[in-house]
């Protein structure tokens, strides 16, 4: 965090002048390449989403989860055969997954997301009520994890083998091996129970309406837990990318020219090493959702991630499909955007890929 930018304007200019010439034309070319990449990805995304949704229905139907037991809950054991049949009929539990898939798309194109049987609510309402919480929490955590990892990764990568590097790497490895719920419970017992600094769970004081301050105070601990759970892999990726870049011919040549410190880092190391980290960011969304599900459960955060898990267990197809396809779209968008960013930043990447 000490690496703020004290003398950015001048040094940045020197760096870019030393690196390349004719920046304006190249910028326009790269913009074209980037837009073309995004367009192609969009076209590809349409059949991909169709296939992904088909796969979700097929896999969910083949899973060991029994929607009947989810519907009957505690009464599963005492339900008679005729009652089981009544429940199956009422909720269409025996519906063939392919029919269910067609059915779902048929309704979706008319704007109807369907009815969630696990939440006893329209799917659209479930999503509308919970999405802001998950989106807010996950994007805040992802953003801060990315910023912290990139900065810290660059610092320790430049000082490879040093004390800071060794301790940070060891700590990151340890954190990577610690399940998010352990971190969460630790945070709760230290900051909420022992110190009383933050509330333990929920999104507001019980009985109050939602308020900005209530949501923010309640968000702090889950936000820290989720951020901490995402830092290790980002940090380690960034570090190894920096280590690789430092060892590259380009950087050695730059060093030979007498460039060092901040200028070297910003002008020669970071542009090359941020890319793998960015690429990773777009594809690690599933881990983010899994982490969010655990954090949301521990902190009673009223988000979507837990609803996703519940809907999968109960084969609540409308909700499951909406959330899973939504996540798939996010993964596709994430990877397209991180690739676009890569093309934009790195002049070496052509449109071939």
């Amino acid at each position: 965090m000490t690496l703020t930018r004290p003398s950015t304007p001048t040094t940045a200019n020197t760096a870019s002048v030393g690196g390349e010439t004719g920046p304006r034309r190249r910028d326009r070319e790269r913009l074209q390449v980037t837009v073309r990449l995004l367009g192609r990805r969009l076209l590809l995304a349409i059949p991909t989403v169709g296939l992904v949704s088909l796969g979700i229905f097929a896999i969910a139907a083949a899973s060991p989860f029994d929607p009947l037991s989810a519907h009957l809950g505690a009464d599963f054991q005492s339900a008679t055969q005729s009652q089981r049949e009544a429940v199956s009929d009422a909720y269409d539990l025996d519906q063939n997954w392919f029919e269910a898939w067609l059915h779902w798309w048929g309704h979706l194109v008319t704007g109807d997301f369907g009815w969630s049987s696990t939440r006893s609510q329209p799917v659209a309402q479930v999503i509308a009520e919970r999405l802001p919480f998950t989106l807010g929490m996950a994007s805040a955590a992802l953003l801060s994890a990315a910023v912290i990892s990139v900065i810290l990764g660059a610092v320790v990568g430049m000082r490879r083998g040093g004390l800071v590097d060794r301790s940070v790497t060891a700590l990151a490895a340890m954190l990577a091996a610690t399940p998010p719920f352990v971190i969460s419970l630790l945070l709760v017992s230290v900051f909420a129970v022992s110190l009383g600094a933050f509330p333990t769970s929920g999104a507001r004081r019980p009985g109050d309406p939602y308020t900005v301050e209530g949501i923010l105070t309640h968000a702090v601990l889950p936000y820290i837990a989720l951020t901490v759970s995402m830092i290790p892999w980002l940090l380690l990726t960034m570090r190894s990318a920096v280590v690789e870049a430092v060892a590259s011919d380009a950087v050695r040549a730059a060093r030979a020219r007498g460039i060092s410190g901040w200028v070297l880092l910003r002008g020669h190391v970071v542009p090359v090493s941020v890319l793998p980290t960015l690429a990773l960011l777009g594809t690690r969304l599933p881990e983010l959702i899994a982490g969010a599900a655990i954090v949301e459960t521990v902190f009673g955060w009223p988000g979507l991630a837990e609803a996703l898990v519940d809907s999968a267990v109960a084969l609540d197809f409308p909700l499951l499909a909406a959330l899973a396809v939504g996540s798939a779209v996010l993964v596709l968008a994430g990877s397209a955007l991180s690739d676009a960013a890569a093309v934009w930043i790195d002049p070496r990447i052509g449109m071939r890929a």
Binding site: D75, S78, A79, D89, A90, G196, T217, G300
Partner: protein, 533 residues
């Protein structure tokens, strides 16, 4: 909503500023005292009797024709009038009449009459509604209106209808010919009870005392359920004084004992756990083997070690709370030597690997349990460990209900029951009777019986309650003991932690299998009176 724009520093800065305000709990003003905040482990919503909400006549929102009433949890509660003005009166064979309370309104302002009772009972048994509790009302043939202010209930036996009159009554206008999960009532409940739903969001439901309730106005005017699915989180929120109570697993509840202002209570239930035994396994199909296994389990140790003492030993589904129907002389006592003798006499001799065998059959079976249920897992492991010294090999394995469904013939299963404890017939008949058509596959899966047991169970079902039927139930336990079909292990006590200093309230009552913060000390909220007033 603006939350997506959060930035980390903003969140932390704002949190630091508001942290002192937000940490709640301490320094509550005196007006806030009539609020109770409870940590709910189940998803909020589904406030409909068709979804099993307000089961057994216990709910802040709904009322049934009758309600349970008792001075504690040591006996089966009396079923006393609620929306009815009197207990059921028998008018002819198997037909009972109940006069209804007049001048009662629902929380939506509509008037309550017999049409609502008829519609609610019709819906709960309607296959189109597919209510999960439909089978709880099997003994009722129909409920019909006898004018606007009375109903008649026709039963299929001579049994007292009272235990089946605990279904929360909803206005007939809210009844839908659609699957129960799709009803509007789930999120907009309408009942005659003392409270009505004020707001419902994914993380919180607020109930408020309503005007126009026919009974005495409750002093607790606001009831907040806050969603806290994680057991540890609920415990920590009680410690941090953010919530006034929650249900907790026994060991976690025990860890809160002795904390300032927190009282931990264990409430009796007829919620049993036991091991069903398969019919196609030569060992478990042998009645001698089933007797031996029943003698070889130290149930007291199971209660002490697995349930942290929060429970009591079970030999049959009939617990001591059933009073005169309970037979204290028909309980299995721990006697491993006698168990070994029984097995020796039946020809099950220890083999070279320590496992008993007879001919080509080994005394070995798999015990399945639902992998999501840690208590069933612990009990399965404890049972397997208890069988080892006797030379019986039990392999406990966690799996899904889906798979258990298909393996009932070949594997033992760790089962639970006791969802409708206020009717001893519902508690006993299905698990002990030999298989009957259209019953649950989990009712006596091995289809074992003892000589005369079915006849006794049928006679008890057909008969009116009273000393003669109590004697029948005692005999049922004696007969069962001679040829047990399963190994019952324990009745659970449900454990709760509450911050209830300054309040006086009714003691908890005997609880059914499903429970939560609608039960425990909060089962009858109108009884909560502040000591200050």
């Amino acid at each position: 909503m603006r939350k997506r724009h959060w930035l980390a520093p903003a969140a932390i800065a704002a949190a630091t500023v508001t942290g002192i305000v937000g940490c709640g709990g301490t320094g509550v003003s005196s007006e806030a005292r009539d609020i109770i905040v409870l940590g709910e482990s189940q998803e909020l919503g589904d406030f409909s009797p068709m979804m099993g909400y307000g089961q057994q006549g216990v709910s802040p929102i709904y009322e049934a024709l009758l309600r349970p009433g008792a001075d504690g949890d040591s006996r089966v509660p009396d079923l006393v009038p609620a929306l009815a003005t009197d207990t059921p009166k028998r008018i002819t064979e198997r037909v009972w009449r109940l006069p209804l309370r007049t001048g009662v309104t629902f929380s939506d302002g509509s008037a309550f009459d017999s049409a609502d009772v008829v519609a609610t009972y019709r819906a709960v048994r309607d296959p189109q509604v597919a209510s999960e509790i439909a089978t709880d009302f099997a003994p009722i043939v129909d409920v019909t209106a006898d004018g606007p202010d009375a109903v008649t209930v026709r039963m299929n036996t001579e049994a007292d209808p009272s235990p089946y009159l605990l279904l929360g009554i909803a206005p007939s206008e809210t009844i839908e010919a659609a699957p129960a999960a799709e009803w509007a009532l789930n999120t907009q409940p309408v009942g005659t009870g003392p409270y009505q739903l004020d707001s419902l969001q994914p993380d919180q439901a607020v109930l408020v005392a309503r005007d126009g309730y026919w009974g005495a106005a409750p002093q607790v005017t606001r009831l907040v359920y806050t969603f806290a699915p994680d057991d540890n989180t609920r415990a920590q929120r009680i410690i941090a004084d953010e919530i006034d109570g929650a249900n907790l697993p026994p060991k976690l509840a025990g860890s809160l004992e002795g904390r300032e202002g927190v009282s931990v209570m264990a409430v009796k239930s007829a919620d049993w756990r036991g091991v069903s035994l398969p019919s196609t396994n030569a060992f478990t199909a042998d009645v001698a083997a089933r007797r031996a296994m029943n003698l070889a389990v130290d149930r007291t140790a199971v209660v002490r070690d697995v349930l942290a003492g929060r429970g009591e030993p079970a030999s049959t589904p009939i617990a001591s709370v059933y009073g005169p129907a309970y037979n204290p002389d028909a309980q299995f006592s721990f006697d491993i030597d006698q168990a070994a003798q029984i097995l020796d006499a039946a020809g099950w001799r220890p083999g070279p690997d320590g496992v008993r065998a007879r001919g080509g059959d080994r005394a070995s079976f798999t015990l399945l349990y639902n992998a999501e249920d840690t208590l069933r897992r612990d009990l399965a492991v404890a049972f397997a460990a208890a069988m080892t010294p006797l030379g019986i090999e039990v392999d406990p394995r966690g799996t899904s209900w889906d798979e258990i469904d298909t393996r009932l013939d070949s594997d033992a299963v760790l089962l639970g029951g006791g969802s409708t404890p206020y009717s001893i017939d519902s508690q006993v008949y299905d698990p002990l009777h030999s298989r009957v058509p259209d019953s649950s596959p989990y009712s006596n899966p091995g289809d074992f019986t003892a000589p005369g047991l079915d006849a006794l169970l049928d006679a008890a079902r057909q008969s009116a309650p009273g000393p003669a039927n109590d004697a029948r139930y005692r005999e049922i336990q004696t007969v069962y003991e001679s040829a047990p079909s399963a190994v019952y292990l324990a009745f659970l006590h449900h454990t709760y932690a509450a911050r209830s200093d300054g309040w006086t309230h009714d003691a908890p009552i005997l609880e059914p299998h499903s429970h939560g913060v609608a039960w425990g000390p909060w089962w009858n909220l109108p009884s909560w009176r502040s000591d200050a007033s």
